[in-house]
């Protein structure tokens, strides 16, 4: 299988979907001439022209709302919010409009909209450009939330998100754009709501998504050296949630560590932990644990920034404790 960078995989998905369906178009800040701050849309202006690859003014609320309006009349817009932090400027249009329109219509309208954005730490961008805010969208009925960790997943899930008839918040990670991985040569669509076992093991389950999947895999390598076989379950999409896979893995190992970069307080991990304990309590060998970002705004300095999110060491240590604990 050929290797692609995460950003190249995303670009390939956009390119293929734009070539396939003239209703698909892109809008966002600095995506056309410059090809996007993270170079995902590079070259697409030349292929599809300024009518379908549109540079907008810096007006997140209105250009996000415009994507909603275009979707309402049958287009398939992919709007890019440069940082997930900027989505907060467009929350009325995302939460009060996009997430509600289909419901309010009694199910008579469809809103085929993708909001592409990216979050996470890693570039020293500090408190307003480094947040992990998936819990905000996870909380709102009417939105799907997709968070790919690998180039292949980014490719296959973005294609499915564009073909989905409902609003999808597609959250990339700034640390992943330059990560390389195999992507199938033939066209592939990955369904939303299917978790993926990135590693199989019988002793402990590490549940994660986005960038933290890679740290979980690194931690699993270390655990294996100590004779502990960790299973790494990448949820890939939080809404829809693959409850079946989550519970199957929890029941299999009886020991679950949930790892996410977003702050622990009010994080998605708490909801997943509750779900596992409600549904699989009798089959758990140890309490479900969470390892998540610290409850703080993200600082600038490298040493401080890195201390805010779970490290490979912390993941391995927590997983080893869980593997040893229990009944």
């Amino acid at each position: 299988m050929p290797e692609l960078l995460y950003r190249e995989a995303l670009r390939r998905a956009l390119d293929e979907e734009m070539a396939r369906d003239p209703h698909v178009f892109l809008l966002g800040e600095t995506i056309a001439e410059r090809g996007g701050s993270f170079k995902v849309t590079e070259g697409l202006l030349a292929r599809y022209g300024p009518e379908r690859v549109i540079d907008t003014p810096i007006a997140e609320a209105s250009f996000t709302g415009m994507a909603v309006g275009a979707a309402l009349i049958g287009l398939r817009p992919v709007v890019e919010l440069l940082f997930i932090d900027f989505a907060l400027l467009a929350m009325d249009q995302i939460v009060n409009q996009a997430a509600k329109i289909e419901f309010i219509s009694g199910g008579r309208r469809r809103l085929p909209l993708v909001i592409r954005t990216q979050g996470g730490v890693g570039e020293g961008l500090a408190a307003q450009h480094s947040q992990s805010l998936e819990a905000l969208f996870y909380h709102v009925p009417g939105l799907k939330v997709v968070m790919p960790a690998t180039p292949a997943d980014a490719y296959g899930l973005l294609k499915s998100a564009i073909r989905d008839d409902h609003p999808v918040v597609f959250i990339e990670h700034k640390r992943l754009y330059a990560v390389s991985g195999p992507v199938p040569e033939e066209e592939t669509l990955l369904p939303l709501g299917c978790a993926d076992w990135k590693r199989r093991g019988g002793d402990v389950t590490l549940v994660s998504w986005s960038y933290m999947v890679h740290r979980c895999l690194a931690a699993a390598e270390r655990l294996a050296e100590r004779g502990i076989e960790a299973e790494v379950l990448d949820l890939r999409s939080l809404v829809p949630l693959d409850r079946k896979a989550l519970l199957a893995s929890a029941r299999k190992t009886g020991r679950v560590l949930i790892v996410h970069e977003a702050v622990r307080r009010g994080g998605v991990g708490g909801d997943l932990a509750a779900t596992i304990m409600e549904e699989a309590w009798g089959e758990l060998a140890a309490p479900v644990r969470r390892l998540a970002g610290r409850n703080t705004p993200i600082p600038y300095s490298r040493n401080l920034e890195e201390a805010c999110i779970p490290s490979v060491d912390e993941i391995a240590a927590a997983a080893a404790e869980i593997a040893a604990a229990g009944r």
Binding site: P22, H23, F25, L27, E51, R52, I54, T56, P57, A59, A61, S62, F63, T64, G65, M66, A67, V68, G69, A70, A71, L72, I73, G74, L75, P77, D92, Q93, N96, Q97, I101, F103, I104, S105, G106, G107, R108, R109, P240, R243
Partner: protein, 324 residues
């Protein structure tokens, strides 16, 4: 229904179009009166924002549209909906929370929408519909065609950030959208003089490269004429127009607001300029007007009957559609 706007200001719309506008205005007036009555009887829940006094804006503006053009509406949206051709039965059923309503009882008064009518939806968020309308205009541009969009909103919404953003976006992209600012001089209870340092709202358009014009919002013909011009500009690819239509709300913000803050003398003066009476005088055919009115009364009676006899939404199917 579309007539090019005459340059001669004395030329009236064709008789048939005048009667259509009057039918929409009279239907809105009577529909709102019935709704207010139902609200007082406890048959309608939530908020009910009456359009009484402002009917000429929706009727005049929508008379300049083709059926395949779009509108985006507001919380005070019954008049827009009727002027876009809505069926009173489905409107009344929605407002009474019935399964047969436009939104199957999920939306209510503030959220009526219809894909069949190219009505993008009323909106519970002041200003929320402005980007949606602007985006529909962008969508028209992307897929090709000469449809246009009217974005209805209020003086209150014109102080919200999305107004500025959207006018700027439509101006730079020359989108086929008409911003129809219904200036009724109050944002809930706050008079416009207390909400902005510049009360000449049409003047905000040119700041974004968007022509701005002020019309008499109680004269349906004046609204129609300027909207026709704006629509023609938009269809030619010459971009958006901001139309400020000055009008007045005959009551409080909603059915539960007595509107004590409205100066009685000012209200009386506006009522002297009842938009329905103004248009009746322009039509000047009492027989034809009476025929329109009796037709509307029959339609409204049938709508009430239909809505009251419609079932409530089915709870089991509602619950079954919710993901765990």
């Amino acid at each position: 229904m579309v007539t090019p706007a005459p340059d001669d200001e004395t030329v009236l719309p064709p008789r048939e179009l005048l009667l259509t506008m009057y039918r929409h205005m009279f239907a809105t007036r009577r529909f709102e009166e019935v709704c207010l009555d139902f609200y007082r009887q406890g048959l309608i829940r939530g908020y009910l924002h009456s359009y009484i006094g402002e009917e000429a804006v929706a009727a005049g503006a929508c008379a300049a549209l083709r059926p395949d053009d779009y509108i985006a509406s507001t919380h005070r949206g019954h008049g827009h909906c009727i002027a876009k051709g809505a069926d009173l039965r489905f409107m009344m059923a929605e407002i009474l929370g019935r399964e047969t309503g436009y939104c199957r009882g999920r939306g209510g008064s503030m959220h009526i929408a219809s894909a069949d009518l190219n009505h993008l939806g009323a909106n519970g968020i002041v200003g929320g519909g402005i980007p949606l309308a602007t985006g529909a205009a962008l969508g028209i541009r992307v897929r090709g065609g000469d449809q246009v969009v009217i974005s209805f909103f209020s003086d209150g919404a014109s102080n919200n950030g999305v107004f500025a953003e959207s006018l700027n976006l439509a101006g730079v992209f020359r989108l086929p959208v008409i911003y129809l600012l219904e200036n009724n001089f109050y944002a809930v209870s706050t008079p416009i003089e207390c909400a902005t340092g510049c009360c000449e709202l049409a003047g905000r358009g040119p700041a974004y490269g968007v022509p701005g014009i002020c019309v008499d919002g109680n004269d349906a013909i004046d609204v129609w004429r300027e909207t026709c011009r704006a629509v023609a500009r938009a269809r030619r690819g010459e971009g958006p127009t901001l139309i400020e239509a000055r009008t007045f709300r005959w009551g409080g913000h909603h059915a539960n607001d007595p509107g004590h803050y409205i100066d009685p003398g000012r209200l009386a003066a506006w009522k002297e300029r009842d938009p329905l009476a103004i248009l009746r005088r322009r039509i000047d055919e009492p027989g034809a007007v009476a025929a329109v009115e009796s037709g509307v009364e029959a339609e409204l009676a049938a709508a009430i009957d239909f809505a009251l006899n419609s079932p409530e939404p089915d709870l089991a199917s509602f619950l079954a559609a919710i993901e765990p």
